[in-house]
């Protein structure tokens, strides 16, 4: 059974890219354009991993993470935040909100896949070209 991932980003391009990367890795992907939408996508279903942007309109990523952690069925779901800002302050806020990890944009697809697999403890063999990067 394939794993279900929720990708939340206000940029369609980014959503598409992340979505494609994960689908290639065998995931089923659902999407949301902001934190609010992301949360409503979780109604009535459980996802295996959430990948979310931080800065978004309506509801930002960290607020969403906090809200997700309050839901009993997603308390322990790995949540990966995508950020352009790689600072200790950002890490601290992410951790406090309950995020599992972070990836700094821009990133390459292999990196994303590797981190997602690691968080889900799935086997991951990087393709040869990825090792060179």
């Amino acid at each position: 059974m394939s794993k279900l991932a929720l990708v939340v980003d206000d940029s369609t391009t980014m959503r598409r890219m992340v979505g494609m990367t994960l689908r290639e890795a065998g995931f089923e992907v659902i999407e949301g354009a902001n934190g609010q939408e992301g949360l409503s996508r979780l109604d009535g279903r459980t996802v295996d991993i959430i990948v979310t942007d931080v800065h978004m309109p309506v509801m930002d990523g960290l607020t969403m993470v906090q809200a997700v952690r309050k839901r009993s069925d997603h308390r322990f779901t790995p949540i990966l935040i995508l950020t352009t800002e790689f600072s200790d302050e950002m890490k601290r806020r992410g951790k406090e909100a309950g995020a599992s990890g972070w990836i700094v944009k821009p990133f390459n697809p292999h990196q994303l896949r590797e981190v997602v697999c690691r968080l889900l403890r799935l086997p991951y063999d990087p393709p040869a070209e990825a090792k060179a990067v």
Partner: protein
């Protein structure tokens, strides 16, 4: 940064390898052409060589290097196997053991025979081999450029609340190198009541061999987000990145040597403080603890806002906790259980050497070496078993000519078998030798004042005599089993472990010693019994059945023995209320129950008022706190805080038989004195 655990680990592993080395050599003797066995032998030496070189244990490394060379030639069929060669290889194993023990204790004796042995090995190998015994150490270090890291991972407790499974970090490490050992540290684990299921209390100690730099390994832990949670130490050398590989290797070796010297300065024993447990067992334990914690929180919740309608929930949860606790208990016990193979593997060599020294041909058969037994029991049963095997070879198996005269095959057989049956582990040591000589034993006992000539003794009673201190019938004192010292020690050792030794013997056919041991020493399944106001515990395994006596089935026999007829069999009745001086509910057996217990095939009916619940009890020794009481094996504390005595079934059976053989002998012995 501490090298001790690495060396300790090495010693434990090396010891195991040497055991296999020896076992494989003995197999090779019987099957000289088998390449698999040769490979196994080679691998043992090879692994020890590599590890000892890396750790800077030069003497071990040097020895194994020479040995490996010879084994390689043997493996390549450049030289042929011969009995003297096998002998030399076996001796090499012994020499290595000595070296390992010296590493352990920090002693550094000089062994001339090691040098002679090395020369012998080199001669076998065609001599002009291996010019530089000191070399392998540096060679093996520089070629891999691997660093040994010790990593301590203490995840922040809230890690799991962030959706992070701590194991993923270990897995990330596994991709960055080779995991040598992962040891969980449960030191931070709070009591069950304080435990929050969502917090991570476990820490891990990890040994990783990797070519990566420390910073790369640190990156594996990035998402933990707390630099204090991880400490990474390079065990092999500090990576300054400047020096050349050779230089670094040399540097690290000096470094290691100084480490080892400081270690050696404070001699300490590393005797078996640790135990190897399969990951499977640990995982199951962790699962169970998890379930227990969940149920506990259900109970806590139900109690916190209690209303009568919560009772069913509470009852269900308590029942579940009970199940979990029981299962947890069973599984925790299995952690201490190790296969008896660890002990049995010594015996082929023992038998081989003993047989040679007494000039007999003996074939050893070992069965049931997968049988698991408490580690403490295994450690303590080694000496008694060794003694019994010596006895079998020395006294049991006859000399060649005697065997031929008796029409037996020249090769004697000794069989060691372990098996588990109804809560006990049995170890049989059987030989097909001459059997015990009843008359000789009695004569000797009379001579020593242990028995009188007129006494009517059953075979059992006669055999029991040989366990008496100072008893020996061996006309000739041999180097192997010495004189008379031992059988009483064997019996005492086994009894300390809560076990028993029995003997079966047939003249001219052989002797079988059977050692019965409890699976574990601390806890047992008990059946609670009510007698008057008192509660007693019977070991559940000893009970065969319980019945309510019908009127007319209990009879008095002459001599004051009371018996009950059960299915046409008369069993002696022991009234517990009389034995312990308690006022029963009723003196009439028809109002009570008889519980039939069995020990060594003998049955006794115990008269009690009532059977209560079955429960697991923790055994507390009465003797350490009080004194030995006949018929009582110990005490335990019940759920309501009361103390209950645990009945000693073998003792009760003896009491019922009306003759406690051992005491009888003592009495006679004292009279004689």
């Amino acid at each position: 940064m501490n090298l001790d655990p690495v060396i300790q680990g090495f010693l434990e592993e090396a010891e195991e390898l040497l055991t296999d080395f020896e076992a494989a050599l003995l197999e090779l003797e019987a099957d000289p052409a088998n390449p698999e066995i040769l490979n196994r032998i080679f691998r043992c030496a090879h692994t020890i060589k590599g590890n000892s070189a890396m750790l800077g244990l030069d003497r071990v490394a040097r020895f194994t290097h020479v040995l490996e060379d010879l084994l390689d030639k043997l493996r390549q069929r450049e030289i042929d196997l011969s009995p003297p060669l096998v002998e030399t290889l076996l001796k090499s194993g012994d020499a290595l053991k000595e070296l390992l023990i010296e590493t352990k204790t920090g002693a550094s004796g000089k062994h001339e025979w090691h040098e002679e042995l090395l020369k012998a090995i080199q001669t076998f190998a065609g001599s002009e081999t291996s010019p530089a015994p000191g070399m392998p150490a540096s060679a093996s270090l520089s070629e891999g450029a691997q660093t040994l890291y010790e990593i301590y991972f203490a995840p922040p407790p809230e890690l799991m609340r962030r959706g992070l499974d701590p194991l993923q970090f270990v897995e990330a490490l596994a991709r960055a190198g080779q995991l040598l050992q992962v040891t969980p540290d449960s030191g931070q684990l709070p009591s069950l009541l304080e435990m929050e299921v969502e917090r991570c209390y476990l820490h891990w100690k990890i040994w990783l061999s990797s070519s990566r730099a420390k910073t790369e390994l640190e990156a594996c832990f990035e998402f933990v987000g707390d630099p204090d949670a991880v400490s990474i130490d390079a065990l092999s050398f500090d990576d300054d990145g400047e020096t050349e590989p050779e230089g670094r290797a040399a540097q690290s070796l000096t470094h290691l040597n100084s480490k080892i010297e400081t270690r050696n300065a404070k001699p300490e024993t590393i005797e078996s403080g640790s135990i190897r447990v399969s990951i499977d067992k640990v995982d199951k334990l962790i699962n169970l603890v998890g379930e227990l914690v969940i149920t506990q929180s259900i109970v806590a919740q139900a109690v916190a806002n209690y209303s009568p309608d919560k009772l069913p929930v509470l009852e269900e949860a308590v029942a579940q906790m009970d199940r979990h606790a029981r299962e947890l208990h069973e599984r925790v016990l299995t952690v201490r259980m190790v296969p008896i193979k660890t002990l049995f593997s010594r015996f082929p060599r023992l038998v081989r050497d003993l047989a040679a020294s007494v000039g007999k041909q003996v074939a050893l058969e070992i069965l049931g070496e997968e049988t698991e037994l408490d580690k403490t029991v295994i450690e303590k049963i080694g000496d008694p078993l060794t003694h019994l095997i010596r006895n079998a070879l020395d006294h049991g198996i006859e000399a060649h000519e005697d065997r031929l005269a008796a029409g037996k095959p020249v090769t004697g057989r000794v069989r060691i078998e372990a098996y588990q049956r109804s809560g006990n582990v049995y170890i049989d040591i059987a030989d097909d030798g001459r059997g015990l000589d009843r008359e000789k034993i009695i004569a000797k006992a009379v001579q020593n004042g242990l028995a009188t000539a007129e006494q009517e003794l059953s075979d059992e009673d006669v055999y029991a005599l040989i366990f008496h201190p100072g008893f020996s019938t061996a006309a000739k004192v041999t180097e192997v089993s010495g004189r008379g010292v031992g059988m009483d020690v064997v019996k005492r050792n086994v009894e300390t472990l809560g076990g028993a030794v029995t003997i079966q013997s047939e003249r001219g056919k052989g002797t079988r010693f059977r050692i019965k041991l409890p699976l574990t020493l601390a806890i047992m399944d008990g059946q609670a019994l009510q007698v008057g106001e008192q509660i007693y515990i019977l070991p559940l395994v000893a009970i065969t059945e319980s019945v309510r006596p019908k009127r007319g089935t209990v009879h008095w026999l002459t001599g004051g023995v009371e018996v009950i007829m059960i299915r046409d069999k008369a069993l002696p009745v022991l009234r517990l209320h009389r034995l312990f001086g308690v006022r029963p509910k009723s003196e009439d057996p028809v109002d009570g129950l008889v519980v039939i217990v069995e020990h060594e095939g003998q049955q006794v009916a115990l008269l009690v008022d009532e059977l209560l619940a079955q429960q697991q009890v923790v055994i507390k020794s009465l003797e350490t706190n009080f004194s030995k009481v006949d018929g009582v094996a110990g005490a335990t504390i019940l759920g309501d805080g009361r103390v209950a005595l645990i009945l000693d079934v073998p003792g009760l059976v003896l009491l019922a038989k009306g003759m406690d053989a051992a005491r009888e002998i003592n009495r006679i012995g004292q009279k004689a004195a």
